[in-house]
C-alpha cells in the first residue's frame, strides 16, 4: 500500500487530468446520471467521465478487485472522496445497487451471485430499484403479500409493489417477497433479485400532489425468477432488509450532496418576499419565522453534536433516532411559513406569470409532505424512540 499522502497526490493528479471541466460544477436538476443498460447521457463529457471512473474501478472503490472494485482501504476511499469534493467533481453516476444491495450481497451472497451481479453493478451496467413497500404494507412493511411460490426449478412471483423509485427505468429489482404465508409475518419473507425485463412485469408511474415523480407502481403477473436469485436463507429476508435499510441513510446522505437542497434559509427568503414587516400580521409571521429558524439552528447544532459524538466513539443511537423526524417536520413548518409570507405569489401552478423560484417553492412545499412519510414515517420514528431509546413497554396487541 502506498503512503496516504502519496495516494492523495496521485488521486488529485488523476482527477485533474480526467474529470472534464464541465463536470466540476454542482449537478443541475435532471443531469444526474443513472448507471444502467442505457445511461442517460445528455452531453459527451458525462459519458467520458462515467467511462473513465468506471475503468478506474472507482464506482465502488472499496470493493475487492475480483468483484469489480479497486480494493481501496476506507482511509484511501476518504482521500478519494475528499479530493473529489475539493475539485467539485460531479458523481459519475448514481446507483442504488452499489449503495444498498452491494454491501448485503458482499456479505451474504453466494460466490456465483457475486460474480453474476456485483461485477456489472460495479461497471454501472445495471440499474437497480428497491421493491419493499406494497399498497397494504407501508409503515407495517412486514405485512407484505407479494408471493414467490416454489415451482421446483424457479419461483413464480405474483403481487405488486409501490413507491418504487424509477421502477420504470430499472433493469433489476431487489425485492422482499413472501415465501411462507403460514409463518409469522417476519419469518416468511425472502430477498429475491428480479429481472425487470422479465415477462409479466409491468410498471406505472405515480403522480404526486407536487406533480411528476420518479415513483412507480410495479405489478407482477406470474413472473419467473431463477432459484439462484434468492439472497441468503429462504425465509431469512427480514434480517437482510434491516441491514439494507441501514445503508439507506448513508445512501440518502450521498443524494443530499447533489440533489435539490432540502435545507433552505427561511430568514433570507422571508427577507426577499416580505422585507421590513410592518403590519401586525406581518410582524406576527416574522416572529413565527424566527421561532422556526431557532428550531432549525438547534437541529443543525444537533447534527454537529452527533458527528462529534460519533468521532469520539460515544454511543448515540438515541440522538441518531431523532434526526429524520426533526428535520422532515421542521421543513414542513418552514415551507408553510414561507408560503404565508409569499402570499398569492406562492400559489402559481404551471403559469409563467409566476417566477421559476416561486413555482419551485410551491412544488418543494408539496414535496415536503412526502419526506415525513417516506423512509419511516414520523409516527414510526416516534415508535422507535419510545421503544428502543426510552424502552417503554411493548403493547402486546400490536406487532411491529
Amino acid at each position: 500500500m502506498v503512503d496516504l499522502e502519496e495516494f492523495r497526490i496521485q488521486v488529485r493528479e488523476w482527477l485533474e487530468d480526467n474529470c472534464p471541466e464541465s463536470l466540476r460544477t454542482p449537478t443541475p436538476d435532471g443531469e444526474l446520471i443513472w448507471g444502467g443498460k442505457t445511461p442517460n447521457f445528455t452531453f459527451d463529457d458525462q459519458r467520458l467521465w462515467f467511462e473513465r471512473m468506471r475503468d478506474k474501478n472507482w464506482f465502488c472503490p472499496t470493493w475487492a478487485k475480483e468483484y469489480g472494485g479497486a480494493g481501496l482501504s476506507s482511509k484511501e476511499n476518504s482521500v478519494l472522496e475528499s479530493e473529489m469534493r475539493k475539485l467539485k467533481c460531479r458523481p459519475p453516476q448514481i446507483n442504488l445497487g452499489i449503495w444498498m444491495l452491494g454491501p448485503v450481497l458482499l456479505k451474504h451472497g453466494t460466490e456465483q451471485q457475486k460474480q453474476q451481479f456485483l461485477k456489472p453493478m460495479a461497471r454501472g451496467e445495471v440499474r437497480w430499484c428497491q421493491g419493499f413497500s406494497e399498497p397494504n404494507a407501508g409503515s407495517d412493511l412486514a405485512s407484505l403479500r407479494t408471493s414467490a411460490q416454489d415451482m421446483g426449478d424457479h419461483y413464480l412471483v405474483n403481487g405488486s409493489k409501490i413507491w418504487t423509485s424509477y421502477g420504470d427505468k430499472s433493469d433489476f429489482m431487489y425485492a422482499l417477497v413472501r415465501t411462507d404465508p403460514a409463518a409469522p409475518k417476519h419469518q416468511g419473507i425472502s430477498l429475491l433479485l428480479l429481472d425487470m425485463h422479465s415477462d409479466g412485469v409491468k410498471t406505472a408511474p405515480i403522480h404526486l400532489i407536487s406533480g411528476k415523480s420518479s415513483f412507480c407502481e410495479v405489478f407482477f403477473d406470474n413472473v419467473k425468477v431463477p432459484k439462484d436469485n434468492l439472497v441468503g436463507e429462504l425465509n431469512g429476508g427480514w434480517q437482510l432488509a434491516k441491514e439494507l435499510l441501514q445503508h439507506e441513510r448513508s445512501a440518502m446522505s450521498k443524494f443530499g450532496e447533489f440533489q435539490l437542497p432540502t435545507h433552505f434559509d427561511l430568514m433570507s427568503l422571508f427577507n426577499d418576499y416580505m422585507p421590513a414587516p410592518h403590519t401586525p400580521s406581518e410582524q406576527s409571521l416574522f416572529y413565527k419565522a424566527v421561532e422556526a429558524d431557532m428550531q432549525e439552528h438547534a437541529y443543525n447544532l444537533t447534527v454537529q453534536r452527533l458527528t462529534q459524538e460519533m468521532q469520539a466513539g460515544i454511543n448515540n443511537f438515541g440522538l441518531m433516532s431523532i434526526m429524520k423526524l426533526v428535520h422532515t417536520e421542521q421543513e414542513i413548518i418552514k415551507f408553510e411559513l414561507l408560503l404565508d409570507a409569499m402570499g398569492y405569489r406562492a400559489l402559481g401552478w404551471e403559469d409563467n406569470n409566476f417566477t421559476e423560484q416561486e413555482q419551485a417553492i410551491n412544488r418543494a412545499w408539496l414535496n415536503s409532505f412526502s419526506q415525513a412519510i417516506a423512509g419511516g414515517s414520523s409516527e414510526v420514528q416516534l415508535n422507535i424512540i419510545a421503544k428502543r431509546v426510552l424502552q417503554l413497554p411493548e403493547n402486546k396487541g400490536a406487532q411491529t
Binding site: 424566527v290 454537529q304 419510545a386
Partner: protein, 372 residues
C-alpha cells in the same frame, strides 16, 4: 466549536453529581423550604462548594481562578438542576464575578477575591419591571462631590437577602452605569417569597451616598459588559433548567414503566409513548443548544448573545413541555406535594422567567440575527 464534554469536564460533572447527591439531594431542598430558613440556601453546602473550587472554575489564574471554562461550570449547573440545589453560584460568582472580571479596578478586585474564597457574596440588582428588561430602569445615580447619590428600587434580586453587597445598574448622565453597593442599613431590603422558595429581595435606595470608587467601570460604558455577564448567567441557568428537566423526564419515563391501569403498564399506550418521545426530542435539541452556548463562552465570544438566547429559549420551551407532561402523565399524584414533581415545576418556572423568558430570547435572537 466542541459540542461534547471533555474528559476533564466529565470528571468535574461526576464529582458534582457525587457531592450533590450526598450533601444536597432533593429531599434537602424540601427540608430547607419547610424550615423557612432565613437564607433559603444551605450555607454549609455552599462553603463546601467553595472548597471544591466551584467559585473559581471560570476565572483566569492571575485572578485566583482555575481557568477551567464554562463547559465545566455548565456541567456543575446541570447537576445542581437535577438536585434542585439552591446556591449563590449564579448570582455571586457568574453574574457579579464576571462583571468584576470585566470592569473592576485594582481595589475593586478585592471583591472578586472574596467571592472566589467564599468569604463574601454579591448579588446583581438589575430588574425593575414585572418582566426581565435589563435596560429599562428608573434607578438613577447623580454626581456629587466625592461620589454619587443613588435612588431607585430593584426587584427580583437573586440571593439579595443577607448579601455582603450588591452590584446595581443605574442611569447616570453619561449613560448606563454599574455601582458596587456594600451592605448598609441605609439600603431597604425586603424579602420576596417566590414559588421556588429561594432567596430573592427587593432593594430600595433612598438617596444613598456612594464613594467615587463605587463606580464599576467607566460611567455610561457598561452595556456590553452587562450583556456579556447576563449571557453567561443565562447559559448557566439554561444548564440548570436542562438538568432539572432531564431529572423530571427520567422520573416520568420510569413512572410510565411501572404504573398500571386497565391491566397494563400505561407506557404501552401509544398516545403516551409518542408524547414521551417528543419530550425526548425537545430535550436533545435543547441540550445541543446549551452545550454550544457553553462552548461559545469558552472559545469565541463573538456570537455569545445569539447562542445564549438560543439556549435559554429552547431549553425553557422544552422545560415547559416536560413539566406539563410530567404532571399530566403522573395523573392525580402528580399534583400532590408529596411527590417532587411540584418542586421541579416551581423551580423551572422561576428559572425560565429569570434573565429573560423564551419570548424575550426569541425576540432578541431575531434582532441579533437581523444585524448579522
Amino acid at each position: 466549536m466542541s459540542l461534547v464534554y471533555s474528559e476533564d469536564d466529565r470528571m468535574l460533572a461526576d464529582t458534582a453529581e457525587e457531592f450533590l447527591l450526598s450533601k444536597s439531594p432533593v429531599a434537602a431542598q424540601r427540608t430547607l423550604r419547610d424550615s423557612k430558613s432565613a437564607l433559603n440556601f444551605d450555607n454549609d453546602v455552599w462553603q463546601q462548594m467553595v472548597e471544591l473550587g466551584w467559585t473559581a472554575i471560570t476565572f483566569p489564574e492571575k485572578l485566583g481562578g482555575l481557568e477551567f471554562g464554562y463547559k465545566g461550570l455548565g456541567a456543575v449547573f446541570e447537576s445542581m438542576g437535577k438536585h434542585l440545589t439552591a446556591s449563590p453560584l449564579l448570582s455571586s460568582v457568574v453574574l457579579c464575578g464576571s462583571l468584576l472580571e470585566q470592569l473592576a479596578n485594582d481595589s475593586q478586585l478585592e471583591w472578586l477575591n472574596h467571592i472566589i474564597s467564599g468569604e463574601k457574596r454579591l448579588a446583581l440588582a438589575i430588574d425593575e419591571k414585572a418582566r426581565h428588561e435589563p435596560f429599562n430602569f428608573q434607578t438613577e445615580a447623580v454626581d456629587v462631590a466625592d461620589g454619587f447619590v443613588l435612588s431607585g428600587k430593584k426587584v427580583m434580586v437573586m440571593d439579595g437577602l443577607s448579601a455582603d453587597g450588591w452590584v446595581v445598574s443605574a442611569k447616570h448622565k453619561e449613560g448606563v452605569s454599574l455601582f458596587i453597593v456594600p451592605f448598609s442599613e441605609d439600603v431597604i431590603v425586603k424579602r420576596t417569597n417566590l414559588v421556588d422558595s429561594r432567596n430573592y429581595a427587593e432593594l430600595t435606595f433612598n438617596e444613598l451616598t456612594l464613594p467615587v470608587n463605587a463606580l464599576l467601570g467607566n460611567p455610561g460604558d457598561s452595556i456590553d459588559a452587562i450583556n456579556h455577564s447576563l449571557d453567561l448567567g443565562r447559559l448557566c441557568l439554561s444548564s440548570e433548567i436542562l438538568g432539572a428537566s432531564k431529572a423530571l423526564f427520567d422520573m416520568t419515563v420510569e413512572y410510565l414503566k411501572t404504573r398500571e391501569q386497565f391491566g397494563v403498564k400505561i407506557g404501552t399506550f401509544q398516545a403516551l409513548q409518542h408524547r414521551a418521545a417528543n419530550c425526548y426530542v425537545e430535550l436533545e435539541l435543547a441540550q445541543s443548544c446549551v452545550i454550544a452556548a457553553l462552548s461559545n463562552a469558552d472559545d469565541t465570544k463573538s456570537d455569545l448573545g445569539l447562542s445564549a438566547s438560543l439556549a435559554k429559549c429552547q431549553v425553557s420551551k422544552a422545560a415547559d413541555l416536560i413539566t406539563r407532561e410530567a404532571i399530566q402523565m403522573h395523573g392525580g399524584i402528580g399534583v400532590t406535594d408529596e411527590l417532587d414533581i411540584g418542586l421541579y415545576l416551581k423551580r423551572i418556572r422561576v428559572a425560565q422567567m429569570s434573565l429573560g423568558d423564551a419570548d424575550f430570547h426569541q425576540a432578541r435572537y431575531g434582532e441579533l440575527k437581523n444585524k448579522m
